[in-house]
Amino acid sequence: MESPSVSDRFLSRRRLLQLSGLSSLGLVLGGCASSMYEDIAFKTFEPLNQKVEELLLNPQKLIPNFPVSAIEPNALLINSFQGTPKIDPQAYLLKVNGDVNHSFALSLADLQKMPSTSMVIRHVCVEGWAAIVQWAGVPLRDLIALAKPKEGVKYVYFKSADGYYESWDLASSMHPQTLMVYQKNGLPLVPENGAPLRLASPVKLGYKQSKWVTEITLTNQLYPMKGYWEDQGYEWFGGL
């Protein structure tokens, strides 16, 4: 349990996800000839775009908070790829592991005892809509620091209770406003928004902000499975 190789745990679901990913991608892409060269455009320009995104990200710069009065409670739409998983908050555990010197697991009560950060930020969806939301929770960088990452750690993987998975660059993960949150708009997070614990950050697109996170794994490399939507063609960095 403590530190099985990361590739094993991500390979275990690979077959299923490949099949579901490919079939749905085929449905989406199949209908239109204009999408034929889309892949070429992506492969040619994504490395450049990602470089620019990495350069634009200032890992220390705080994104200005909005006033509480600016919160848009109804603007945050609910997206998930297969409904809302049932999680017992009492039995819930967040595991932190990977290339670290200290793997650990925390209950929701443990997490809520840690110093928390609150922010009112704009949540931006890849679809084009945005919502100003208040989130509160534990800075991810505090959890990473507790795990004492080994030399060479560059990426952070997030595994969710519903099978969703994501991976982030370390710089964005260490951003002071990248939080593992359990509160939204002043109230306890509800299951539809990712309770008991979800990722929230002003520096990444919505699909990077996993809900129902159960496991955080630090790695020194990016695996072929980068994220649920990335594996279907969305860009990996997804920076804002």
């Binding site: 892409l29 320009f45 995104e53 084009g128 804002l240």
Partner: protein
Amino acid sequence: MTSSPAPAKRSKAPPVPHQTILSKVFHWVNIVSLLMMITSGLQIYNANPVFGGRGGWHFPPLVTLGGWLGGGRHWHFAAMWFFALNLLWYGLYIFVSRRWKRRFASEADLKVLQTGSNPKRKAYAWHRVLYTAVIPILLLAIVTGLGMYKPAQFHWIVDLFGSWQALRVVHFISVPTVIIFSLVHSFMALKVGGTKLVNSMFW
């Protein structure tokens, strides 16, 4: 069209309009990249229409590029380099060569529009004012696009427009504006200089 020297007996014919190769390159890259920006932009629009959200009206596949949201984004964020850098080098070029003084709308054109009596000169002034005015509109499309692409790093751009929805509306408005401009601009070019002028801009 080649611009061979006119024979002596036709020396009274108006001069064949001449454009530099750089202007033609700019014009071509601008047209093609804008077409890709607009069609891929409408594909992105369809994921969550600016007007009406998910329940809003969607553009038909005939005018969209990419086939799905990811594909639209890939085209949009590839073509943006051609579109923006093309404007950048051309801006430097007309600035350094001082073409902006001769080839774009000037005070003289504005004066003609106010007090001129020669309809041909007036039409020419309108033509120059129109293609000059589209440049700030194209720059506005870039600024609003950058604000939506990186709203955290460029939060001041979003603030400048007041709200996310306002930013989306201004970015989207560049589409009908550019389409209407293209139609009127083509019409004016034909009216002012005929096919000779139009051809000179392309070949």
